[in-house]
């Protein structure tokens, strides 16, 4: 008999559950305040739906099985794709913009024994049908969400994938080299990047640009440097827009907890504009991530711009304190069961009460903190 969990899966018990529920509530309150409506989608999708969405889908990372017609099914690996599907079907006659929020478990097969989870709760929003103008709103919402984690030390790092893409176009980098170049820059793999650039025979100015990109990060001071190495007016325009975004965020009161990284270029064929990741002290991976993905919905037959982000609640749990709460324990002897129940009914209006049969002669109430 199997009495343990499969690899990458885990049970949440005791204060872990309390922490997660409390965090979820705080995050969802922020989403609600921004006018997002909750969507619940099925746990299982056709693999085909994901293949339509991502050209380079890593199929081996998905849990797959067959339905009765031998079609391949998969456990959903995110909520953005199901929502894109919903937009294209259920919402095809509704006028955009749409604001969706969700809190659902998503699944990815993780490397064995690497200490990663294969099932996590993804809690996020998608703002569909509005262009770059709404970037500010989505980022403000992300910052409010991070504030709701109630942790002291956190940062939201913002980049724009167009900066790299436009640079590649202007510098006429061959299509087949772009993915590799992007990967070296995104990984800040400085040694390999240098070797790759040397092999490409580029103009020195352009070479310097790509060489600088991985470390082109920090706070306000980074714009000056970015501007300086921008070798085309189109690049300068992107720097100006990001700076404007920064100024606007400051005007709205989001002074702290923001940084920029121009060398942030993951998933080239997915993100089309700004992208951002949230980090907190004590967690080795990003706990919030998102960005603009204007080309995804087109693949489902609705050409709408979109921007969104999600929080991986489970990654934060270890860094959070459990909320303290008080509960009542009501001990009663066998002959006073009904009396005890009546007492409990009254107490339950304001308290959590658990009934415990005991040997004592009288009903006894004890307050305990969890």
């Amino acid at each position: 008999m199997q009495i343990h969990t499969p690899l990458g899966m885990r049970d949440l018990i005791k204060d872990e559950v309390q922490k997660k529920e409390a965090l979820k509530e705080r995050v969802e309150n922020v989403f609600c305040a921004y006018g997002y409506q909750e969507v619940i989608a099925p746990t299982i999708e056709f693999l085909d739906t994901y293949q339509k969405a991502f050209s380079n889908l890593q199929v081996e990372q998905m849990y797959k099985f067959f339905d009765a017609q031998s079609q391949i099914l998969a456990l959903r690996m995110d909520m953005t794709v199901p929502i894109a599907r919903i937009c294209a079907s259920k919402y095809k006659d509704a006028l955009p913009p749409y604001r969706f929020r969700y809190c659902s478990n998503v699944f990815k097969v993780r490397e064995s024994f690497a200490g990663r989870r294969s099932e996590v709760t993804d809690c996020g929003v998608e703002l569909i049908g509005l262009d770059e103008q709404s970037d500010l709103e989505v980022i403000a919402c992300a910052l409010d969400t991070m504030a709701a984690f109630e942790m002291d030390h956190y940062t939201l790092e913002i980049g724009n994938s167009s900066f790299f893409k436009v640079a590649c176009q202007c510098a006429k980098i061959p299509e087949d080299k772009r993915e590799e170049l992007a990967q070296k820059i995104d990984q800040k793999s400085l040694v390999d990047l240098k070797a790759l650039l040397d092999s490409m025979d580029l103009d020195p100015e352009i070479c310097l640009f790509f060489e600088k990109l991985p470390l082109l990060n920090g706070e306000a001071e980074v714009f000056e440097e970015a501007w300086r190495i921008s070798f085309d007016p189109k690049l300068q325009k992107i720097v100006r827009e990001l700076q404007k975004l920064y100024d606007n965020l400051q005007t709205l009161g989001y002074m702290d907890h923001i940084s920029f990284d121009f060398g942030k270029v993951p998933h080239l064929d997915y993100y089309t504009g700004i992208l951002f990741e949230g980090f907190v002290q004590g967690v080795g991976v990003s706990v919030l991530s998102g960005g603009r993905y204007d080309s995804l919905l087109k693949k489902f037959g609705r050409d709408l711009p979109a921007c969104g982000f999600s929080v991986k609640l489970d990654y934060l749990l270890e860094s959070l304190k459990a909320p303290s709460k008080k509960v009542l324990r009501l001990y009663y002897p066998p002959n006073k069961q009904l009396e005890a129940y009546q007492k409990a009914q009254i107490l339950r209006q304001d308290h959590e009460v658990s009934l415990i049969p005991s040997e004592s002669k009288e009903i006894r109430i004890e307050e305990v903190s969890l």
């Binding site: 030390h153 800040k188 980090f279 967690v283 990003s286």
Partner: protein, 218 residues
Amino acid sequence: MSLSIALTKGRLEKKTVAMLERMGYGTENLKDKGRALVFEDTKKDIRYFLVKSNDVITYVNHGVADIGVVGKDTLMERGNQNYELLDLEFGKCKFCVASLPDQDVFQKVGHVKIGTKYPQVAREYFLSRGIDVEVIKIDGSVELAPILGLADGIVDIVETGTTLKENGLVILEEVCEISARVIVNKASFKLKRNEIMAVVRDLESVVKEDAHKNGFEG
């Protein structure tokens, strides 16, 4: 903010510690280590720990270590999700394909078997060359595999080539050069950028100093 650095014990250890010392860091505890596993820097707000190369990557992946020093060979075999900011230019060697002189695996028609400690590296290299091979994982003395007929050839790291020569093997192809690298956890980089970049810059200046010196001598 305090930093944690994971160092690879063994082959790369001495040179890493020597480098830290030249940077003016307080390495006394690291040099006189006894049975301790964690070492405080006596001058900086840094904590070191010495672990096996594979574990350096694991500790950095999880952000338990902010920075790691580890060989490119291990990074290639394991795959790297961290930033790789610097080549320390020591621990230099090469990944090579080798075999007995009369058994060129690139010419062989039919099923080819490759013995290696680095199955991922071997698989990817032959894949990139468009050659279909069976990779057999071996944990030590890889040179033995072609001699005993377990494999047609091997993929292994070669420093001087002496071990290969002594066993009658020849290098068929060089896959790539490897050396010690500095990796940084992504989240740490965002939250402790200045502290981390200070260490990276210090390391870089020592690397550059050596390159400069070697440039003159060479």
